[in-house]
Amino acid sequence: MTLEEKKQEIIEEFSLYDEWLDKYEYLIELGKSLEAFPEEKKTEDRLIKGCQSRVWLDAEERDGMLFFTADSDAIITKGIISLLISVYSGRTREEIAGDDFGFVAEIGLKENLSPTRANGLVSMIDTIKKLAENGR
């Protein structure tokens, strides 16, 4: 699936739920099903600054593509980072760095999170972009 197709899929998925509580339910499920993140990777340098809860993000490069893994101590945050990872994992650095991350606004994630949580979302996006641009 291309990046555009994947984004479209998520936009459609979100549009299935009218109620925000249902969207949260979906994010919670995503969070719960996220692949386990090794404890020893929960280091200060993998911690994303600017989130109220703690979020760790790691990237590995294989065959010219970036693969992300992440974790959070809050489940909705974990669902959000899981959503981002599902879109951007397995893409090239150029693809990620060149993307505008506009679909996040399109599914209403930004305005439906508290300002502090929205800041966390911005930090998550910035970190993914930075990892794509500079590597670790």
């Binding site: 925000w20 509580l21 949260y24 339910e25 919670i28 109220q52 809860s53 101590d73 809050a74 489940i75 909705i76 945050t77 999170l113 508290s114 949580r117």
Partner: protein
């Protein structure tokens, strides 16, 4: 006054959030304003906006009457001996900083001790830390007991002849337990040490009589007791306020200014430098009127008691919930709690979508969070305009949210 009548005085309570009725349970952070306060605020801006005290024109006189009238209202509200002992500030934080700076400058020296408690808001910790750094003084910390209350005997044990001031909260904004302030003050006075009480929560929930408490300073914010934001009060015993140097210079706080030396205005002006918040301070009058009538209303008392009994029982019976501040007889309807295996922020986010406003996080009390061994908590704090129905909706929503998350 019935709860329905009270609610009708608060326009914001009709708000719907995400299509659901707003259930506002973040009253310990800021209270909502009754129409009387909103109108007073508006009338002052529209009809009596002039700088106070100096000018001789009509508007200035109106503004000055309104401002000084608020001082008289505060004096009676907390039963202060004299209006000169009421200093207006921008809030409790400013009140405490004033005392830390001015009292500290005059009375605190190297090696002296300031005592605070583990359940203080940052605003009653950091000003004292700054003072201690400036003066080379030592900050000592009094713990709370397991039920979240300060114990006079424990305080007696840590008071030494080096203590220069004890700063305690009337009611912790996290634990929601009324501290035995009168006894704590008595212990300090036996040792000759003055006491500052942070009354930010206390003045909202308890009838405060500063003469009965015999505290040396009592600080609170207007916005938590229904008045406009940016208003605050410092009550101080005259003997201390007279002996303390001014906090800030400029504006109304002077008597005569010469380059050879300046003399200061008498109390309370000595501590009210610069342009005061004269559009907002007079809202303390309708705000305190409301607070008093709510406190005296039997309907309110009954509803608050029902809410307290119900939420307390629900939270202590549910094995998934850990409630902090469990001293039952001293408890106010303010509940900080954790849910095992669930992050407080997730719960707050889901409750928000159910229309419920609660606070989550460290609540400006990081040392207390460390002491309790948590990274943050959830807090539901009730006000006289909250109903028992809202309490039931809150508990049902909380249970639903927990089930979603577990």
């Amino acid at each position: 006054m019935t709860i329905t009548e009270i609610r009708s005085q608060f326009p914001i309570l009709d708000t719907r959030v995400y299509g659901k009725p707003l259930v506002y349970l973040d009253n310990a952070a800021t209270a909502q304003r009754p129409q009387s306060v909103i109108s007073c605020w508006k009338e002052l801006v529209e009809g009596a906006n002039a700088n106070i005290h100096r000018a001789v024109h009509h508007l200035a006189a109106q503004a000055t009457y309104a401002y000084e009238g608020a001082r008289d209202r505060v004096k009676t509200f907390i039963n202060a001996p004299a209006r000169e002992e009421i200093v207006f500030t921008s809030g409790a934080t400013a009140s405490i900083n004033l005392v830390a700076a001015s009292y500290g400058q005059r009375f605190v020296n190297q090696g002296d001790e300031i005592i605070v408690t583990v359940c203080e808001h940052h605003s009653n910790i950091v000003p004292w830390q700054l003072l201690c750094e400036r003066k080379g003084a030592v900050l000592k910390v009094l713990d709370v007991d397991d039920a979240g209350q300060l114990n006079p005997e424990s305080l007696r044990k840590i008071l030494t002849s080096h203590a220069k001031l004890v700063a305690i909260t009337h009611i912790s904004n996290v634990l929601g337990v009324v501290n035995p302030v009168k006894q704590l003050v008595a212990v300090c006075h036996e040792a000759g040490v003055p006491v500052l009480v942070d009354g930010s929560q206390g003045v909202v929930h308890e009838k405060v009589d500063v003469q009965d408490l015999d505290c040396d300073f009592y600080a609170f914010s207007g916005h938590k007791i229904y008045a406009a934001t940016g208003t605050g009060v410092l009550y101080g015993k005259r003997k201390w306020l007279e002996a303390m140097p001014p906090y800030m210079g400029g504006g109304e706080m002077i008597e005569t200014v010469r380059f050879s030396g300046t003399t200061y205005a008498p109390l309370p002006m000595k501590f009210e430098a610069g342009t005061q918040n004269f559009n907002a301070v007079p809202t303390l009058v309708p705000a305190l009127d409301f607070a008093e009538s709510a406190r005296e209303s039997q309907e309110v008392q009954a509803e608050q008691k029902a809410i307290l009994d119900y939420v307390f029982a629900q939270m202590t019976q549910d094995s998934r919930i850990v409630l902090y501040g469990t001293s039952r007889e001293a408890k106010i309807p303010l509940f900080s709690f954790a849910v095992k295996g669930v992050h407080h922020e997730d719960l707050a986010l889901i409750l928000d979508k159910m229309g419920i406003a609660v606070r989550s996080g460290q609540m400006c009390a990081e040392p207390l969070m460390d002491y309790l061994g948590v990274t943050g908590l959830l807090r539901a704090s009730f006000s006289p305009y909250n109903t028992f129905e809202e309490a039931k909706y809150f508990i049902a929503s909380l249970q639903k949210a927990i089930e979603m998350l577990l």
